[in-house]
């Protein structure tokens, strides 16, 4: 399959989906250029998985136009399926089969022929560091191995577009690094990646373009650098000794958020040494005793606070 560079690998216009009276996706527009990594960032329940399920033809949308790899998702689902691979949050491997048998099952379903199927299976086992696991049943695999086998199974048909739904959720840091390297290698080979993640760090490392999904709507879209400009640069958390000190510090420092019970002040800051020194200097000048101090760099909570005006766990709390 050939696509011109100007053809986006994935487009969606006005994508809508409700389950019962719960609106999950409320009119989403997406465009992903071929050969790039697109990250859909959002908390649990934002609609990330639903978006992947619709774009990968697993479930139908209520409205909107979607094209993947040059084909209409609704009218030509099989053409889309032939061009994609999907790796879900919960790995879709056959537990009763071995690593190699799982791969050959996929090769057979792609009608690759016996010899070519075995060749690709052996190649993927090697590439994904699964050679040892080839003859073991998948049920005995560790989380990282399952995730790698899961992705390898998708790649046997040489897809042009790969959907990765939270590919590193629940993995240990080493397995996460391995998965990131695999994703980078895929992109180097010209594959388009549609990634969902809860981790800003992951999107930051991998994605060319990041879209932030919140309560079924895209609230921001841009490169990692562009998004970071939207986010205040973290904060410094100060632990005060007594309520009087808290009151004085709050007056001295101006715009802060305070927690009167815990005697904590949060001061916006880029976390740099210079601003830290300046802050401590001002507190010294007023002779305010600080018991403790910690520096917070921006995380997903900050992104959400900045973009939506509510912390990302609010949705979970409302349920």
């Amino acid at each position: 399959m050939t696509m011109t560079a100007s053809t986006p690998a994935i487009t969606a216009v006005g994508l809508r989906k409700s389950f019962g009276d719960q609106v999950v996706l409320d009119g989403i527009d997406l465009q992903v250029a071929e050969g790039t990594v697109f990250a859909l960032l959002g908390p649990n329940g934002a609609g990330k998985t639903t978006t992947v399920q619709i774009l990968s033809t697993l479930i139908g949308a209520d409205g909107g136009e979607m094209r993947v790899a040059g084909h209409d998702v609704v009218k030509e689902p099989d053409a889309v399926r032939a061009a994609i691979a999907v790796t879900g949050q919960f790995s879709a491997v056959d537990n009763l089969l071995t690593g190699e048998e799982n791969l050959i099952l996929m090769a057979d379903l792609h009608h690759l022929g016996r010899r070519e199927g075995r060749r690709r299976a052996a190649d993927l086992l090697e590439r994904f560091d699964l050679a040892e696991a080839a003859t073991k049943r998948a049920v005995t695999f560790s989380g990282g191995m399952r995730r790698r086998l899961d992705l390898a199974m998708g790649l046997i048909g040489e897809p042009r577009v790969v959907f990765l739904d939270e590919p590193t959720t629940g993995l240990d840091p080493r397995s996460r690094r391995t998965m990131w390297q695999i994703i980078r290698d895929l992109v180097a080979g010209g594959v388009t990646i549609f990634l969902t993640t809860q981790y800003l760090e992951e999107a930051d490392h991998l994605a060319d373009l990041i879209a932030v999904l919140d309560r079924g709507k895209l609230v921001a879209e841009g490169t990692s650098a562009e998004l970071k400009r939207l986010v205040p640069g973290g904060h410094i958390s100060l632990q005060l000794a007594d309520p009087a000190g808290l009151e004085r510090a709050a007056r001295t420092l101006g715009e802060v958020s305070r927690d009167d019970e815990q005697l904590i002040l949060q001061v916006p800051s880029d976390g740099g040494v210079r601003s830290l020194r300046a802050l401590l200097g001002r507190l010294d000048d007023e002779s305010i005793a600080v018991e403790g101090l910690s520096v917070h760099t921006p995380d997903l909570d900050d992104v959400f606070l900045a973009l939506t005006g509510h912390p990302d766990n609010q949705k979970e709390a409302v349920r």
């Binding site: 999950v24 099989d78 994609i84 879709a92 057979d108 379903l109 009608h111």
Partner: protein, 264 residues
């Protein structure tokens, strides 16, 4: 390759997967064969003497009852095997692998077809094992080649009907536990028909139910074909029931498979 060739190839791939599952998860196969054999031993060796006396046949007793009960046991085997189908379908559906199949360009029918053909093979092997056990107990069927072919035909039709029904039951449930419980009435029906005692010995209401439920004509047709008793209209009634249940089970299963999977 043409679309049909792809469909056949995909179904064959899925069948290989199902057969491999049976080898890797043998307890399900043991269960399919084990329950009918244990019930046969119970009914023949423990109850057989008394039950045989009640039949009032020429050589009344254990041997007479064995001759009577084996067709019922064989049909029971089909029901337990179909219950195994519901369990393996539910296991598949609760794991992510079916979602993967749905997002691949493979024939949609192939997933279920692979399961059905695999279950047919499992059921027929189970029936052969149960007949083997019956022969060891002293069962001596009177059927000639035509009788055996007819018996195998009736059993294959019955198996196809119950398997498609259980494919749907395995999909309509949300868990493997529920899938193993839901087909339970199928295992009871041979008891509530002519499987273990003649319907004539039952009280009026029970008897009416026993004579009009699908398992009775199936068991009667099989009994006639195997033991040389008159088959009468039971074969035609049995085949009509099987055709109806197959069609219902197939359409239901297809509708369940084609609907959107419930979002997590």
């Amino acid at each position: 390759m043409t679309t049909l060739a792809y469909t056949v190839s995909d179904a064959a791939t899925m069948l290989r997967r199902s057969l491999r599952h049976m080898l890797r998860y043998p307890s399900l196969t043991f269960f399919v064969v084990g329950i009918p054999v244990v019930l046969m031993l119970l009914f023949v060796c423990v109850f057989g003497g008394t039950m045989g006396a009640g039949l009032g046949g020429a050589s009344s007793g254990r041997a007479e009852y064995l001759r009577y009960v084996v067709p019922g046991i064989i049909v029971l085997t089909v029901a337990t095997a179909a219950q195994g189908t519901a369990i393996s379908i539910a296991m598949d559906m609760t794991e992510g692998i079916i979602s993967r199949f749905r997002t691949m360009a493979i024939s949609r029918a192939s997933v279920l077809t692979g399961h059905v053909v695999g279950s047919m093979i499992q059921t027929m092997l189970g029936i052969a094992a149960v007949i083997g056990a019956a022969l060891l107990l002293g069962f001596r069927p009177a059927a000639g080649p035509a009788g055996w072919i007819g018996a195998i035909g009736v059993l294959a039709m019955t198996a196809l009907a119950l398997i498609w029904l259980c494919v749907a039951l395995g999909m309509v449930t949300k868990s493997v536990e529920a899938a193993s419980n839901l087909p339970m009435p199928l295992m009871l029906l041979p008891f509530l028909g002519s499987g273990f005692v003649p319907t004539a010995s039952m009280p009026a209401g029970m008897r009416w139910f026993a004579e009009h439920q699908p398992f009775t004509p199936i068991i009667e047709a099989l009994r006639g074909l195997l033991t040389g008793a008159p088959v009468g209209s039971s074969a035609a009634v049995a085949l009509a029931w099987c055709a109806g249940i197959t069609l219902f089970g197939y359409l239901w299963a297809r509708a369940l498979y084609n609907r959107d999977p419930v979002a997590r």
